[in-house]
C-alpha cells in the first residue's frame, strides 16, 4: 500500500527485456533481436515519457448515512489531482448483510480527457437493520501506458445506520388505559371528543352545537349529546436482545427472533406515534443506549428506530432483573417482544405485571424455525422448546397474555380484553 507513483511490472518488464535484447543484439550481431525488442522499447519509452509527477489524493463519502432495510446508497470515492490518472479502480470489501453493485464491488473509470477530479461510485445496499460497515476497500490507478501505478490506497470504513423496516402492523383496539391529555383513545371520563357517550339534559356550559334538537323537542327539555374524552396512551416497548435464535438472512430472507422483535417494535412504535400516543423503549441485554424515555412525535420515532438499529444481539446476557429501573407511569401498556428463552426476560415480565401494569408478551419465536439437520441438535432444541412451553404456561398463569407476532391485528384482542378488565368493577373484600 503506497500513496506515490511506482513503476508497474509491465514497465519494468518492457524496459529490462528490451535493454537486454538490444545489448545482446549489438554484442552478438543479431539484428533480428532489435526487431523483437521494438514493441517493448516503444512501450517503455512512451510510459517513461508520460511519467506522472503528482499522486492523487483520495476521499470517500456516503450518499446517505441512514437507510431503511433493503434501501441503498452510494459510496463515492473522489480522486483529486488525478489529471495523470489514465485508469482508476476501486474495490470495496463485501460484508455480511450488505449488497454491492456490481456484486464484486469493483468499479473502474477511464476519463475521456485529462480531468483533475475523478469520482467512482459503488452502489451499496443494507439488507439488515443495525450499524453496517461499508465503504472500506482499496483504490488505485495507473498512468498513461500503464507505466506507473498509484496505490492501492486503503479506504476508511464508514458506518451506515440501517433502521429496521417496520413490519406491517395496525391496531383498531383502543389503548386499555389512556392517561394523557389529548389523543385518539376514548377515555373513561366524559369530555370533548368524537366518540358518542350518551344524550343527557343540558347543563350550563354545554355548547350550542351539542344540542340534540329531536330529543329536546320530544321531551320539551333541552338535551345535548355528550361524548367521551379522548386521551393519548403510553406504551413501553421492551425488546429482549439477550437471546437470538434462528439465522437472519436479511430483509428478503428468513428472520431470526431478534429480527422479528426489532421489526415488530419499529412497527408498533410507528403505529402509536403516528396516532399521537407516547412510546418508550427499553432494550434488555444492551449495555449502552438501552433506553428511550417515553415521548411522542415524528422525531421521537426516529430516536426509537435509531436505538433499535443499535441493538447488538447477545451483548449482555447477565442482566439482573432486580436492578432494572423502569420509569413507567401508571396506565402504561408494556409490550414485551421476546422469544421467552431467557430468564431475564421472563423475570422482568412477571415483575412488571406484579406492579399492576398492563403487560403483553409478543412471542417472536417463529413456528417454522429451522435449527439444522443434526439429530442431536434437533433433540436439544426439542428439549429447549419443552422448557419454553412450560415458561409460557407459567407466564400466562400469571395473567400475562402471550401472543405470537402476526403483524396487523396482533394486539387487538389482547388490548380489548385488557380494556374490559380495567372497566370491570373490582371486588373489594369487606
Amino acid at each position: 500500500m503506497t500513496g506515490g507513483w511506482q513503476p508497474t511490472m509491465a514497465l519494468l518488464r518492457a524496459a529490462l527485456v528490451s535493454a537486454l535484447l538490444a545489448v545482446v543484439a549489438v554484442l552478438v550481431g543479431r539484428i533480428d533481436l532489435l526487431v523483437l525488442a521494438t514493441p517493448l522499447v516503444v512501450h517503455a519509452v512512451a510510459a517513461v515519457v508520460r511519467r506522472p509527477s503528482t499522486p492523487p489524493a483520495t476521499g470517500s463519502s456516503l450518499g446517505l448515512t441512514a437507510l431503511r432495510e433493503g434501501e441503498g446508497t452510494q459510496v463515492r470515492v473522489r480522486l483529486t489531482d488525478a489529471a495523470e490518472v489514465e485508469h482508476a479502480v476501486v474495490q470495496l470489501n463485501r460484508h455480511r448483510w450488505t449488497a454491492l453493485r456490481p456484486a464484486n464491488g469493483v468499479v473502474g473509470c477511464t476519463p475521456a480527457r485529462r480531468q483533475p477530479t475523478l469520482e467512482l461510485c459503488v452502489a451499496v445496499a443494507s439488507l439488515r437493520w443495525g450499524r453496517r460497515p461499508v465503504g472500506d476497500g482499496l483504490v488505485g490507478g495507473v498512468s498513461s501506458w500503464a507505466g506507473y501505478q498509484w496505490g492501492p490506497v486503503r479506504l476508511p470504513t464508514r458506518t451506515v445506520t440501517t433502521l429496521p423496516l417496520p413490519g406491517r402492523f395496525d391496531s383498531r383496539a383502543p389503548a386499555p388505559h389512556p392517561i394523557g391529555l389529548v389523543g385518539t383513545n376514548p377515555a373513561r371520563r366524559p369530555g370533548e371528543g368524537s366518540e358518542f357517550a350518551s344524550i343527557r339534559p343540558w347543563h350550563p356550559g354545554d355548547r350550542l352545537r351539542r344540542v340534540q334538537w329531536r330529543v329536546s323537542l320530544r321531551t320539551r327539555e333541552l338535551h345535548v349529546t355528550s361524548t367521551v374524552a379522548e386521551e393519548d396512551a403510553s406504551v413501553l416497548l421492551l425488546v429482549d436482545s439477550g437471546t437470538e435464535v434462528g439465522v437472519s438472512e436479511g430483509v428478503h430472507g428468513a428472520a431470526s427472533t431478534l429480527d422479528t422483535a426489532v421489526r415488530a417494535a419499529g412497527a408498533v412504535a410507528e403505529h402509536y406515534l403516528t396516532r399521537g400516543d407516547r412510546v418508550g423503549l427499553r432494550v434488555l441485554g444492551a449495555t449502552r443506549r438501552n433506553a428511550v424515555s417515553t415521548s411522542s412525535g415524528r422525531r421521537h420515532l426516529r430516536v426509537v428506530l435509531d436505538t433499535l438499529a443499535s441493538v447488538v444481539p447477545g451483548e449482555s446476557r447477565h442482566v439482573d432483573p432486580g436492578r432494572l429501573r423502569f420509569r413507567i407511569s401508571a396506565g402504561t401498556v408494556v409490550i414485551v417482544l421476546s422469544p421467552l428463552l431467557s430468564d431475564t426476560a421472563v423475570a422482568t415480565t412477571t415483575t412488571l405485571a406484579a406492579r399492576g401494569l398492563d403487560v403483553v408478551v409478543v412471542d417472536t419465536l417463529p413456528e417454522d424455525l429451522r435449527v439444522g439437520d443434526d439429530p442431536r441438535l434437533l433433540l436439544a432444541w426439542r428439549m429447549r422448546t419443552l422448557e419454553r412451553d412450560e415458561v409460557v404456561t407459567r407466564v400466562r398463569r400469571a395473567g400475562i397474555p402471550v401472543v405470537p407476532w402476526r403483524g396487523p391485528g396482533t394486539l387487538d384482542q389482547i388490548l380489548v380484553r385488557l380494556a374490559r378488565r380495567r372497566a370491570a368493577p373490582v371486588g373489594v373484600r369487606r
Binding site: 518488464r13 543479431r30 517493448l40 522499447v41 512501450h43 515519457v49
Partner: protein, 183 residues
Amino acid sequence: MSVSRDLAGVLDRIALSSTQQQVLRAGVLVGTLLLLGLVPVGEGTFHPVLSMGVLVIAVLVAALPESHVGVALLLALAGLWVVAGPDRLDGRLLVAAALLGAIHLCATLAAVGPSGHTLGRELLRLWGRRAALCLAATVAVWLAARAVSLLDLPASGTAVGAALVLLLAWVTFLTVRFARPGR
C-alpha cells in the same frame, strides 16, 4: 495490483477473475504457443525441453500476470529465438516480434485492476491504437533492418551495432514525439 504469494490467494484470484481477464490470461498462453510453434518452422530447430520450460513459465504468467515471472517469459522466448530460431529477417521475424508484443500487452492489461475487474471499451480502444503504434514501429525497424542487410556492408560488428543503436534511438525519438496519452 499486488502480488499474492500464497497459493490459495492465487487460486482465489483466478477463480474470481472476470471473463475479460481470463481471455487476456489465455492470450498469454496462446501467444506463447504460437511463438513456440513459429521457432522450428523453416531453418529453426525444435527444443522440447526448452519449449516445455517456456510453456511452464507462460502458465505461471497467466496465473500471475502482475508478477516478475513475465520478465522471465519474455527473456526465455527471446533466448529460444536466439538459440533455435532462424537467423533471417523474413516475415516470421515480424510475426515473432508481434507475438512477443502481444504477450506483453496481454500480461499488462490482465494485471490492471483487481480480480473481477473489466476494462471499459474506451480503454481497450486506446490500447488497440497503442498496439498498432508498436506494430508500426516494429515494421519500420524490420524494414530498416532488411535495408541494412541488403546493403551487404563489410563484416564490421561495431559499425552494424552502432548503426542499429542509432536506428533504435531514432525510433525512440519518433515514439516520444507521437506517443501521447489519449491518442
